[in-house]
Amino acid sequence: MGRYILRRLMWTVVVVIIVTLITFVIFYVLPSGDPALRFAGKEPTAQVLAQVRTDLGLNHSVAVEYLLYLKRLFLGDRYGWPGLGFSYSSGAAIAPQLWQRAQITIQLVLGAAVLWMLIGIPVGVYSALRPRSRFDRASLFVGLVFISTPVFWLGLLMLWLFSSTLGWLQGTGYVAFTTDPVQWAAHMLMPWITLSLAFAAIYARIVRSNMLDTLGEDYIRTARAKGLPERRIVTRHALRASLVPIVTLLAVDIATLVGGTVIVETVFNLQGLGSWVLYGALNQDLPVTLAVTLVATVAVCLLSLVADILYAYMDPRVRPE
């Protein structure tokens, strides 16, 4: 087990190298012009431009720049380890801001994940226990509405309804949990709901179909044949088997959202990773883009590792002997 985890972590390093390389290449190949020009002021002299290039670390060829980036990344730079450099546009160090924004995004994503599991699993189970019932059909319909509603529109609708019109919830922005737990929840609730509704609908459908398959299995018939109470058959026997494949899915979805909550963060004015990567891309701020890409990549690798370990924990058949 230990060796397996070690090997997977080494692969994570390889994936990080590949993904950052691709980001680098895209940045340089894209016909967006010379970033140095943006930061050198109006009509810069050749000397100023050269100075800016040196400051931003753009005075070498792509290959050399990339190798220098890797070297700083793995060995650290003047801001510490890992060396993520500074933002081209603000000049501030990346690392502190990255941690701060990552915290917000992680709270957003994990909260939403908890919410969509809390909605999706019971709805899916209940639909499977009464397939084609009124509840089943209603949940399918509502789910389709959530899946097909654009997230930004849903977010704006929620703001209009709960914040502007009803005044029940706070509007946009972020309040740290340590500052005021109630305000924290009041600010996070709408982003959580907005982000989770479509996922809740998808998970409900997946849980429903897994449950239906499982309920038809021979071992469920055995559980009934030995006179177990229906509750126990559903929870311990059927649900358990139905949730095993969900683990992998959940890990992938959470990991994808680490760099992919742009819309919700923008609508609710949360200074997380999603809004930052958008900023980085729009402003040719390579270190920002790279930093978020890096976190997202590591998240995908680590979470899929966690999912595999959990999978083995839940299903003895894939456990290494």
Binding site: Y219, R221, R240
Partner: protein, 340 residues
């Protein structure tokens, strides 16, 4: 006289389908005394599994139309409320299935699967239930039961898994064990072991056993009585000896012809020509008539009922007795043949 342990009386199980009702079981009657083994034999699709799932009331999800009576100690299980039925499954009837790998939960330790059966019906603690579970595994001949109880189904061999199923079905000491083709997925050596264990436990616990099988040979050594099923009906039933010695229904003759006998020429292995009839739209008259080499007009005109021919031996065939006798001369019970 006390009622039989299990009595199935004119049972009908029809599944709804787009093309009309599927008559999986159609007027079946059987009975089994305490302490005895009833062998139920028939081709695939003859309604064996459906019959006993109906007795366990495990068909309800398919919404079949069920008529007739299934009496356990004189009580009709078909009319019991669901809660009382749950108290029958496990404590009164234990059931084991054809494929023990798919019948056991893949994610739960076998010891836990047995222990939870105990805890669902008796007020015992976790440790106590586990100890009982280990003891039950030892009782069905599993070595190192302690260790095996902690394993998962995929870590056991086919024979071991079926032993686990038997231990699980009998842990609550039911009066009746229904073994639905328990050895189909096993090789012949293991088959003999499993049948031996079941028969052993029957004598030791005094339970009634229903042993379902495709072949008469499987049930020959252990059954006290035999019922031969065809297309949802019993076509012959009686004491095991009598059915083997004097099989009286042409379908039973056919089944016996498919028994490979020791020292017999290969040409004796004659499969019954043709295939079972449609259960949605069965042929008029005797269901077996279209495949029967001895049929005549009367066979297709009316559906024969089981008729007692003496000694508890009954058949559902309109064939005149001389024809039956002529055929009988060609047949000897497989046991005697092997000895010859």
């Amino acid at each position: 006289m006390s009622p039989p342990l299990l009595e199935i009386d004119d049972l009908t199980v029809h599944f709804p389908s787009a093309a009309g009702p599927v008559r999986a079981v159609d007027g079946l009657s059987l009975s089994l005394e305490r302490g005895q083994t009833l062998g139920v034999v028939g081709e695939s699709g003859s309604g064996k599994t459906v019959t006993f799932l109906a007795a366990m009331r495990l068909l309800e999800r398919s919404r079949p139309e069920i008529h007739g009576r299934i009496l356990l100690d004189g009580v009709d299980v078909l009319t019991l409320p669901a809660r009382e039925m749950r108290e029958i499954r496990g404590p009164r009837i234990g059931m084991i299935f054809q494929d023990p790998l798919s019948a056991l939960h893949p994610l739960l330790r076998v010891g836990d699967q047995i222990a939870e059966t105990v805890r669902a019906h008796r007020d015992v603690g976790r440790r106590d239930a586990w100890a009982q579970s280990v003891a039950a595994l030892a009782q069905v001949g599993i070595p190192n039961a302690d260790e095996r109880a902690r394993q998962y189904p995929h870590q056991l061999s086919g024979g071991m898994r079926q032993r686990v199923m038997i231990a699980m079905a009998l842990i609550l000491e039911p009066d009746l064990l229904i073994a639905d083709a328990p050895t189909t997925a096993l090789d012949t050596t293991v088959e003999a072991q499993i049948l031996g264990i079941i028969d052993d436990l029957r004598t030791r616990l005094g339970i009634g056993v229903v042993l379902v099988s495709h072949s008469l040979a499987t049930v020959a050594d252990v059954a006290d009585t035999v019922a031969v099923m065809y297309a949802g009906r019993a076509v012959e039933r009686g004491p095991c000896q009598a059915v083997f010695a004097h099989p009286s229904h042409p379908y039973t003759w056919g089944l016996l012809d498919t028994v490979p006998a020791l020292g017999a020429e290969r040409s004796r292995l004659v499969p019954i020509p043709g295939s079972p009839p449609s259960l949605i739209d069965p042929p008029p008259g005797c269901r077996f008539a279209p495949r029967c080499a001895y049929r005549f007009d009367a066979c297709t005109r009316h559906l024969p009922e089981l008729v007692e021919r003496g000694g508890g031996h009954a058949d559902a065939c309109v064939l005149p007795v001389p024809g039956r006798g002529a055929r009988r001369n060609r047949l000897e019970p497989p046991g005697e043949e092997a000895a010859a």
